[in-house]
Amino acid sequence: MMGDGCSRRQFLRGLSATAAGFCLSPRGLLLASNLPTAPVAVAKCRAYGPEVLPTLETMFDQLGGLEQLVKGKTVAIKLNLTGQANFRLGYKPVELTQWVHPQVVGATVHLLGQAGAHRVRLLESAFSTDEPLEEFMLRANWEPHDFLSAAPRVEFENTNYLGMGKSYSRFPVPGGGLMFKAYDLNHSYEDSDVFVSLAKLKEHATAGVTLSMKNCFGITPCTIYGDGAGTDEPSLVPRGGRDMLHDGHRRPSQSSPSENDPGSPREGGYRVPRVTADLVAARPIHLAIIDGIETMAGGEGWWVEGTRPVRPGLLIAGTNCVTTDAVATALMGFDPMADRGTPPFETCDSTLRLAEQLGVGTRDLRQIEVVGTPIQEAIFRFRAA
């Protein structure tokens, strides 16, 4: 699939430099601050009905169109399907609170196929299981066949372990990384030309917000970075969550790079944003899509005390994950320039600031063009909901 003389790894690195803004937008600029920027499309969408597809289509057009990004390419979509499939906030199905909605997934897959994507691969590290992703979806009453019929050549992979690969792929963090110099991930994150983060508009108990960047915390396989990871080599089967990345109580499997500074704080509010920023620098996101039609406030999942369902009625998309998350943060009623001690980052460092520090993109709204619905017309204050 790669051209002569250009390996997939080199291609990815090349995209890394440009992903933050130049792929889609004819208006992409590298501003005086030297931080990449790119427009962010915002649209109101009140329900998960047939309106989702045309709304997303319009948004992608506003960003310059999908075709030049995905035509003839293998596209990987990291879905936000956090937690277990069979636990909910009250009676609400997971897709109305903590998971991205299948209607948004299906519409995205369809539009990618329509834009000429050669293959679309749906990815998620399903919680504490090596079961196929399709089975994980069925557990939540989803129907994976719906996605298979949305575009030609749709595939699934549970990336929480080795999966269908023969070995893990190593992703170095440009500049050496804030927590790790490189991460070992499932092959699907390398065996794709275009990477899409399809996230949910949520707060996060540890990292302040769960948006397109924090969604990528879940690309780490628990066989290496999980509570049940093997000591020397990755375990065969993922068990439990990623507490080691949260609190540093143990190190990843010896086969993977160890922490840059074992003396760094053993605190989730320090570590999780840094790991997240590392990951989006190492595995660049080419298209960030955030589902905020129906979601939850107060945290990333039902297990966070005080979480409650909310209906912001929003869809957000952009080609730079930092600019997209900055706009999304503002739409949630927060200041994207805020840092530790200020909402939503009361007890953590800002992933936006750290990703900015790694050169991924700017979080400064003055340097981000918002297309579609202006922020002031769409703002939904999560803390007041």
């Binding site: 069979n86 009676y91 069925l138 009453n141 068990r239």
Partner: protein, 504 residues
């Protein structure tokens, strides 16, 4: 209900060095007719008393039980005497009959003929399933039932396995989810192997810690874990509960009332115990010898995964019993005889899926694609398929997980949400006019709330029952994929949902 008391029990406890002054007094108080007052108005209508064990205390026991038996019979209670060891003799049984016993609970096979209706009792691991005993053609009457009863010990007290509890918090077990102990799978298996006899499950509650903060055992769960699956738990109270009941302590009295309500509930719905398990999968094995351990544990683990299964003993497998199935898992290493093999292959040819072990010799098969291709060779046969394991079935956890994935959750009959330590059993009446989903919550951590039940099919309403409810609540379902989803009201330990036909 077990009613251990008097000289025999005191002697047994003394020999086991568990007899304290308080326990001795309890066993004497429990032996007195006035203790029967707690049964007044309860559905308990039969007591199992220590009768004869060949010990020196036998004579004194039988003499002092006379008053208890007399008082009990005036309350409509019948008595079963427990006979063990050398006491299982026709003469002793005849003496028991003359003393007013309605039946004898005897260790092992009863004398034949027996002067007194004998209910045999075995440890679970030693039940002689092949004994002619199980083929008794005649029905035997006892109480209000016309089925032969058998008593089985070596059962597990139901609930979250203690090994996965850290204080009051359940943590992941070796397989990633909290470990739940249940006898449900055994009840379903016993019903098949025991030719539809009724089983009494003999299990005692764990002893309460001798502290001021009393944590009574989860008696309601023990009742539900047996009755929902068609067995009967022989009610057995631990000493602290009995002491407090005799003192009329409010907490113990309330718990006893709840126990009585749960027993009454199942008595009022006794037709449910004749319902048959539903599901797309049948597990076939002889459940004996070298096959026993793996096959039984696979049943246990399939239940924990929420898979609805039917069990077919190998010698009773026939094409008629394959009706309405989509999958048959043959767990034994050796192949079936020619007739049964032909039936199984016909099942596949007609569209079914056979899951078999490595040792099967299959020829003239056309390879096919299917899930878990790294561990299973798929072959096409007619309009169905055969999934043959590439290695011997050894690890029951892996086998159960594989079966579930080979079937795919697309064949789930039910799914539960927000019920992490709950189990589900789907049954239907003969002819399928009525169907039932019973949910058991093993967490013992208070009421289950915000639980949703997804049921495959198109039933749009259900009758929702919990212990103590005299009338069901009618709940409406909402369409969710190819099934209906029901938001359940809060319930503790047990809920039953009655539907019409599955409407699949």
């Amino acid at each position: 209900m077990k009613w251990p008391s008097g000289p025999l029990e005191i002697g047994r406890r003394a020999r086991a060095q568990t007899l304290t002054a308080e326990v001795k007094q309890l066993l004497l108080d429990w032996h007195a007719p006035r203790a029967l007052e707690i049964l007044r108005g309860s559905p308990v209508n039969c007591l199992i008393v220590n009768w004869a064990s060949g010990a020196p205390e036998d004579e004194e026991q039988q003499r002092t039980l006379a008053a208890l038996i007399q008082a009990g019979r005036s309350l409509g209670i019948s008595f079963v005497g427990a006979f063990s060891g050398k006491a299982v003799q026709p003469a002793t049984l005849e003496a028991g009959r003359k003393a007013g016993l309605a039946a004898a609970l005897v260790e092992g096979a009863p004398p034949d003929p027996s002067p007194l209706l004998a209910i045999p009792s075995w440890p679970r691991s030693k039940i002689p399933w092949d004994a002619t005993f199980f083929s008794y053609p005649q029905l035997r009457e006892f109480g209000d039932s016309k089925f032969l009863f058998l008593s089985v010990s070596e059962n597990r007290w139901p609930g979250v396995g203690l090994e996965t509890m850290h204080g009051d918090v359940a943590v992941a077990g070796p397989t990633g989810i909290p470990w739940v102990d249940s006898n449900g799978w055994f009840s379903l298996l016993a019903r098949e192997l025991g030719r539809e006899k009724f089983f009494w499950l003999d299990l005692d509650p764990p002893a309460s810690p001798p502290t001021t903060s009393w944590h009574p055992a989860d008696y309601l769960l023990a009742i539900a874990d047996s009755q929902a699956y068609g067995s009967w738990w022989i009610v057995s109270l631990e000493d602290q509960m009995k002491v407090r009941l005799l003192k009329n302590e409010p907490q113990a009295t309330k718990l006893w009332q709840d126990i009585a309500a749960a027993l009454s509930f199942f008595k009022e719905h006794k037709d449910w115990s004749s319902f048959w398990p539903q599901g797309a999968l049948a597990v076939v094995s002889d459940f004996r010898g070298k096959n026993e351990s793996l096959a039984e544990e696979v049943l246990n683990l399939l239940s924990r995964r929420g898979v609805q299964w039917r069990v077919i003993e190998r010698s009773r497998a026939s094409s008629r019993r394959f009706d309405h199935l989509k999958f048959i898992a043959w767990l034994d290493d050796d192949m079936p005889d020619a007739d049964l093999l032909s039936n199984l292959l016909d099942f596949a040819k007609q569209g079914g899926v056979l899951i078999v072990s490595q040792s099967w010799k299959l020829s003239d098969m056309r390879p096919a694609e299917g899930p878990l291709a790294e561990r299973y060779q798929w072959n096409v046969l007619g309009s169905g398929r055969i999934a043959q394991s590439k290695k011997e079935f050894q690890d029951p956890y892996e086998v159960a997980a594989d079966i579930h994935l080979l079937m795919s959750r697309r064949n789930d009959l039910v799914r539960l949400f927000n019920a992490g330590m709950a189990a589900c059993l789907c049954t239907a009446s003969r002819g399928g006019k009525s169907s039932l989903v019973q949910i058991l919550d093993y967490s013992s951590s208070g009421p289950a709330e915000f639980v949703s039940l997804w049921v495959k099919g198109s039933s749009d309403s259900a009758r929702f029952w919990t212990f103590g409810s005299k009338q069901p609540a009618i709940i409406q379902g909402k369409r969710a994929g190819n099934g209906m989803e029901f938001e359940l009201p809060s319930f503790s330990v047990y809920a039953g949902l009655e539907f019409g036909e599955w409407g699949l």
